[in-house]
């Protein structure tokens, strides 16, 4: 089927079918099917997303098409700040997510035409990688409350998961940028008393704030067996950084949740789908990120060329669920290929300026 004339409904149906099949019985998309759908999306997005079409033309695809999904020009994540990357009228978006605007940059915006597509991709991935045992959990969220910050993709994500998969009401403990550790502790104590397992979801920085509060009050919990943690995001722009292994060890110590029940999710506002620590890799380092079959990553060098397997490079994501924006997104995150996924190295490898020059993060910190 040619994608040039494909309607959004047709494309959504194909993507939803792929999601549904994997969600139901683990059916994977083979290379051919992935390639065909990715190229259909490319043609559709070139035809309907003018900023992307101009970008693709400048990347050498004015007169020709990418040969495979690997050749689809990847839009830099920062481009979501510079243009409305949408295949439809953004004013009709069912979901609008803003990026966090790290290092003081203007936030970007990801417009999604159909919430149903986002939800299907989200829940299928979450069910597989966070709720593989079918547990019903109380969701205690150290992320923005979607009622207060409807444009936070993380808030929306956890709100949706809690509503669809949670046992009881979801709770949110982020007040502005501060964590309400007292409220969290109260709810944790109640869950333990009720024998209810919990899922605590939050950013690494929020977990550090919780641990600081618990240490100060000398409190530890023994969460009900089956409890788990979903940690996401990092420390960018934060003055305090804790090494991930130390963070997880402290979470285990303070909350009584085993290390292999602490799962790092890796997502981006610019993507519809999410990566998670592969279940088989959670007991040892390095953890490998894996995702659903409609989400693939390649590792490229500074010039955008694929690097050999196992070599460090920059992550490029191809997310077929990004139907209404751009299918390929280039990041500045580093990683390397591993069996069934990749190892995320983040941006830690980037050496800051070595001398007395101010760098961007210092400038942001000084401006408060």
């Amino acid at each position: 089927m040619s994608g040039a004339g494909a309607s959004p409904q047709t494309l959504d149906a194909r993507i939803l079918a792929a999601i549904g099949a994997w969600h139901a019985d683990g059916s994977a998309l083979d290379d051919g099917a992935f390639d065909a759908l990715a190229l259909s999306l490319y043609r559709y997005q070139v035809a309907t997303n003018a900023p992307f079409a101009r970008f693709a033309a400048a990347a050498g695809f004015a007169e020709r098409e990418p040969a495979t999904w690997r050749d689809i020009p990847a839009v830099p994540a920062s481009a979501f700040r510079d243009a409305a990357l949408a295949t439809f009228d953004p004013s009709r978006a069912e979901l609008t997510f803003h990026t966090s605007g790290s290092t003081g940059a203007t936030p970007g915006t990801h417009f999604l035409q159909r919430a149903a597509l986002y939800d299907a991709a989200l829940l299928a991935g979450f069910d597989r990688f966070m709720l593989g045992d079918g547990a019903r959990l109380r969701f205690l969220n150290l992320v923005p409350d979607p009622r207060e910050r409807p444009h936070s993709s993380l808030g929306y994500m956890m709100g949706r998961v809690a509503r669809e998969r949670g046992a009881g009401d979801a709770a949110f403990y982020l007040r502005g940028d501060a964590v309400d550790a007292g409220a969290l502790c109260g709810d944790l104590a109640r869950a333990i008393a009720d024998g209810a397992p919990v899922c605590i979801a939050g950013t690494a920085f929020a977990f550090v704030a919780v641990l600081d509060a618990l240490a100060e009050s000398r409190v530890t919990f023994a969460c009900t067996p089956g409890s788990r943690i979903m940690e996401t995001g990092g420390f960018k722009g934060r003055s305090r950084v804790v090494e991930r292994g130390a963070l997880y060890a402290e979470l285990t110590h303070r909350l009584g949740i085993p290390g292999d029940r602490i799962v790092a999710e890796y997502g981006m506002t610019e993507l519809t789908s999410q990566w998670y620590d592969a279940p088989w890799s959670r007991a040892a380092e390095p953890r490998v990120k894996t995702g659903p079959p409609w989400l693939r990553a390649t590792i490229v060098d500074a010039e955008g060329r694929a690097v050999p397997h196992g070599e460090t490079g920059y992550l490029r994501h191809v997310d077929l669920a990004n139907r209404s924006s751009v299918v390929a997104v280039q990041t500045e995150d580093r990683g390397y290929s591993a069996a069934d996924g990749f190892v995320l190295l983040g941006r830690d490898l980037d050496a800051p300026l070595r001398g007395c020059s101010l760098d961007a993060e210092e400038l942001v910190a000084r401006r408060g």
Partner: protein
């Protein structure tokens, strides 16, 4: 009250006339201007290994550093700031004021937490001119220790007055004691490092902090009078941006070019791209690969260029990144070997930009500082401590103040004698 060290008396430095100290320092530095001087050869290798800068870059830095440390420039700086060298030896008469003696403060601690080549050396030299005892901790420890040896060879009193704390941690008791006992602390580093050092110093110690800052370039339309001159300015701007990989506070990260010159903004941008390509050969990138942030900035610029806004030039292997007309609401790219080029109609656009992003400026390069008084006045008002000539931004003069602070004055305490 910081404790006075007895090391000054031990070193015998206070018994030496300042002119002899200055001469000895100048002679020691002269030895270091010879690229084949064995201690310099060894120090160069150590710096290359530690910093990742290429040997030509390190050689260039050492030539500039030691070439400036002459008895003439030391004398000029000291006389300019305190009137005479003799004021360091004892009381001197002054017009309509009591006699005064610029007595060196006994204990001086100098610390540089960054890897800028030899950043602490001028401070050490002037502290010695003031006859201070100096404790220094610098990541360029091999260089400072070796230079201290050369000073010893010139005058044992000089070497005896300097203690280089090579390779020790900030929390080492010996260093902490030196810091706690110092009457003057001169510190180079980021905000966190300066805060920590300030808290460790004695409450009444004189603290001279040189925090992280950045620099820029301003090209007036009058200086774009012909292609040859524009090409020369572009070459100088490229050196100012790419030398030391843009790591220093005197590295230019943004160029503001006035529109309306005989050479257009677009033409100057093109010349700048050519110049960056040439300078990148002379001063290649250090060993580290371009940071992800640089690539993200490049890719963002490419995306905007595809939309018809601005332009981008990327040197082979990431040897430089030139971004033409990035969005004004974004702060300048404070990234290695990365230069943003903005077209402006007047200097107010430059000062507004600097103010809106609260950019702490160290220096601004212009074509001819004497020729554009209005522009220089605006630059001064923007907070910069130096207006340099394009191409010489990273070659500060020893006879000039540094970072808005005098060279010798931090190290002396005036003693006056009533008539």
């Amino acid at each position: 009250m910081p404790k006075s060290s007895s090391r000054g008396a031990d070193s015998g430095l206070r018994e030496l006339p300042a002119r002899r100290i200055v001469a000895a320092i100048g002679d020691a530095a002269a030895r270091w201007t010879d690229a084949d001087y064995p201690p310099r050869v060894r120090a160069t290798a150590a710096i290359v290994q530690r910093t990742g800068y290429t040997e030509p870059v390190v050689d260039y830095a050492l030539d500039r550093l030691f070439g400036e440390v002459t008895s003439a420039s030391l004398t000029a700086a000291i006389e300019g700031e305190i009137g005479s060298l003799r004021a360091l030896d004892g009381f001197v008469a002054r017009d309509a004021r009591p006699d005064a003696f610029a007595r060196g403060i006994d204990g001086v601690a100098i610390v540089a937490s960054d890897t800028t080549i030899g950043v602490a050396l001028p401070a050490v030299v002037f502290a010695l001119c003031a006859k201070c005892d100096v404790d220094v901790r610098d990541r360029s420890d091999a260089l400072l220790a070796a230079f201290a040896d050369t000073l010893t060879q010139e005058r044992p009193e000089l070497g005896a007055a300097v203690r280089v704390h090579a390779g020790i941690a900030p929390e080492h008791p010996r260093w902490r004691a030196a810091l706690r006992d110092a009457g003057v602390v001169v510190a180079f580093g980021g905000d966190d490092a300066l805060r920590a050092l300030r808290s460790e110093a004695a409450p009444d110690a004189r603290f001279v902090g040189f925090g992280h800052r950045t620099s820029a370039t301003y090209v007036a339309r009058e200086s774009l009078e012909n292609d040859a001159h524009a090409r020369s300015l572009a070459a100088g701007t490229a050196v100012d941006a790419l030398l030391y990989d843009g790591d220093g506070c005197l590295s230019s990260h943004a160029v503001f070019v006035e529109r309306g010159g005989d050479v257009s903004f677009e033409r100057f941008s093109h010349l700048l791209e050519e110049a960056c390509a040439a300078v990148a050969v002379e001063f290649p990138r250090g060993s580290s690969a371009p940071a992800g942030a640089v690539l993200a900035y490049r890719d963002g610029a490419r995306f905007r260029a595809a939309q018809g806004t601005g332009g981008v030039a990327w040197g082979e292997g990431g040897s430089y990144l030139l971004v033409i007309e990035p969005p004004r609401h974004e702060a300048p790219p404070l990234l290695a070997r990365c230069l943003a080029v903005y077209g402006v109609d007047g200097v107010e656009e430059f000062t507004d930009f600097v103010a809106s992003h609260a950019v702490p400026l160290e220096a601004v390069a212009v074509a001819d500082p004497a020729a554009f008084p209005d522009i220089v006045a605006a630059i001064a008002a923007s907070g910069a401590a130096r207006v340099a000539r394009i191409g010489a931004l990273q070659s500060p003069l020893l006879a000039a103040e540094h970072g808005g602070v005098g060279r010798i004055t931090p190290f002396v305490r005036w003693v006056t004698r009533d008539a």
